[in-house]
């Protein structure tokens, strides 16, 4: 599904990622974990087109996507959510998701000016689809609220709903549980499982080990910019090197 080959990224003299290769299986939930400074976020940013790698390549279903801009990747079916929530606060919850369906819209500026009837139909269509994604994410009853007024946890869910509206094949989530309380985290876990059941591949960077071990089918462990281990949650928990990387040697 998504493959990275020998990805290296340096910032000045610092090597944030050193020769990391990986392959995320289609339809699975893969977790990326590691101590602070392990290069998780850098890896994410490279995959999702925020940075270009110094060396190495990224392939989405065999196609080289190295260094493509986020909006191009979004159109190719790859979306991401951010650790800090990135919404359109002055728009309603529903409008936020509708904008997510922008890429599915055919009518550009000219079409909207001249083909009004078809346009109204499309708008209605987009509204309905957006609403169904909101309901899927459990935000259906907040549709008309201003997105900026949502509590943090709801905002995170909305960001995921908006990403889903793009009908992606793969979603990257950067610390989706950060800042959530335990009830919200449980809801999030449920939502992530539901998304996975739709056949969408999911990759997430997360510090909440309980969540990672609970929902991920495969886990990649990074440490100091290198891939330390790869396996099922059970294998990772039993891996001595991983335990040492987290607890320090001694």
């Amino acid at each position: 599904m998504l493959r990275g080959e020998a990805i290296t990224r340096t910032f000045g003299g610092i090597t944030a990622l050193d020769d990391v290769s990986f392959s995320f299986a289609a339809g699975k939930i893969t977790g990326i974990i590691g101590p602070n400074g392990a290069g998780k976020t850098t890896l994410f940013n490279i995959i999702t087109g925020i940075y270009a790698p110094t060396e190495g390549k990224v392939f989405l279903e065999g196609k080289d996507i190295t260094g493509l801009a986020p909006e191009k990747l979004a159109r190719m079916g790859m979306v991401r959510t951010f650790q800090g929530i990135e919404l359109f606060p002055q728009m309603t919850v529903l409008e936020n998701v509708m904008v997510g369906r922008h890429t599915k819209s055919k009518s550009g500026i000219i079409a909207s000016a001249f083909k009004l009837p078809g346009h109204i139909r499309e708008e209605k269509n987009i509204r309905e689809k957006a609403l169904s994604w909101l309901q899927f994410a459990g935000l259906g009853d907040l549709a008309d609220q201003e997105a900026g007024s949502l509590p943090f946890g709801r905002g995170r869910i909305l960001e995921i709903a908006r990403a889903l509206a793009l009908e992606p094949r793969i979603i990257f989530m950067d610390e989706p549980a950060a800042g959530l309380n335990s009830r919200e985290t449980r809801e999030l876990a449920g939502l992530i499982r539901k998304i996975s059941e739709l056949g969408i591949t999911i990759a997430l960077v997360e510090h909440d080990m309980e969540l990672v071990m609970d929902i991920c089918e495969e886990i990649m462990v990074l440490n100091l910019g290198r891939k330390l281990a790869w396996g099922t949650p059970r294998e990772i928990q039993e891996n001595r090197e991983v335990v040492m990387a987290y607890l320090g040697e001694g």
Binding site: E71, E86, V99, H102, T103, S107, A163
Partner: protein, 294 residues
């Protein structure tokens, strides 16, 4: 002491020029919201609207509706080319650099028009005659009605586009959060291009409908552009109703000032208002705080 009829007269003509300022101001706001820059070439689109219509009417001998359409299309094209050549290649530049570039662009456009069509002032025929209409004790021209109707239509179309179409929503989304917009697959650069196209089209339309009243020449864009800028500042750079009120306020006060005090102060009044607003309420009259950017 001025009679109430006179005051009504000043207000009516003020409202019609104010409507023009509002259209120009919205053009400023649309570009500002999508790029964060003030496009000082906005006035030149206004000038191009009038001058191109004159050209298509007299040289190409097109009927008025065709000439107007052609003029708007060409002005829009100029807006698009301007964005492509002057703004896009420098997309990572500081806003101040881009703003200076727009000033340069405006001088260039004005210069080209002066070279091609000369420094003469041109008249555009009124859209439907010059038979005055009586409103209370005041008179207005049919052209004033054209101005009101076209302005209302453009503003309504604008609102419909930005709030009820997915492409318009995407443009608004860019102005709220460009990073999130890219995440959902919106091509921000394309939206910037759209904003220049829309602003150029609106500005040129404003220049066309005012030209029968005020005449047009290669340099009308400077003053009209600055007045539109006043409107946008009063409206807090909103592309909606705030700027419409801003334009009407500038238009009416200017017209009252010119009529009741001295017509020599006509232009000074708009800038006096601009300065007061910038000193006292830099976020505009119709905005709650500086954080909101609509």
């Amino acid at each position: 002491m001025a009679s109430s009829d006179q005051i009504l007269q000043y207000c009516l003509s003020g409202l019609s020029t104010g409507a023009i300022y509002a259209l120009i101001g919205i053009g400023f706001a649309i570009i500002y919201n999508s790029t964060g820059i003030i496009n000082f070439a906005q006035g030149e689109f206004v000038m191009l609207g009038g001058m191109l219509t004159v050209f298509f009417l007299s040289v190409a001998v097109l009927p008025l509706p065709a000439a107007v359409t052609a003029a708007v299309l060409v002005a829009t094209l100029v807006g698009v080319i301007f964005e492509r050549l002057a703004i896009r290649p420098l997309k990572d530049a500081q806003p101040i650099t881009l703003i200076i570039i727009t000033i340069g662009g405006s001088i260039l456009i004005r210069g080209i028009v002066m070279l091609v069509w000369g420094k003469d002032t041109h008249a555009l025929p009124a859209f439907s005659g010059n038979e005055p209409l009586f409103v209370g004790g005041a008179t207005i021209l049919p052209q004033h009605l054209w101005i009101f109707v076209i302005t209302v239509l453009i503003i309504a179309a604008n609102r419909l586009y930005f709030h009820h179409s997915i492409s318009g929503k995407a443009m608004r989304a860019c102005s709220y959060n460009a990073r999130a917009s890219r995440l959902v697959g919106i091509d921000v650069k394309r939206m910037v291009l759209f904003s220049f196209a829309i602003s150029a089209a609106m500005g040129s339309m404003a220049g066309i409908i005012i030209a029968p009243l005020t005449m047009t020449s290669y340099d009308v864009g400077v003053m009209l552009g600055l007045k539109g800028f006043c409107a946008a500042i009063i409206g807090g750079m909103s592309s909606g109703i705030g700027t419409v009120f801003g334009g009407l306020i500038v238009g009416v006060l200017e017209s009252l000032g010119a009529g009741l005090v001295s017509s020599g102060y006509k232009d000074a009044i708009a800038f006096f208002i601009l300065l007061i607003i910038l000193f006292l309420r830099p976020q505009g009259l119709f905005r709650k705080g500086e954080t909101e950017r609509v």
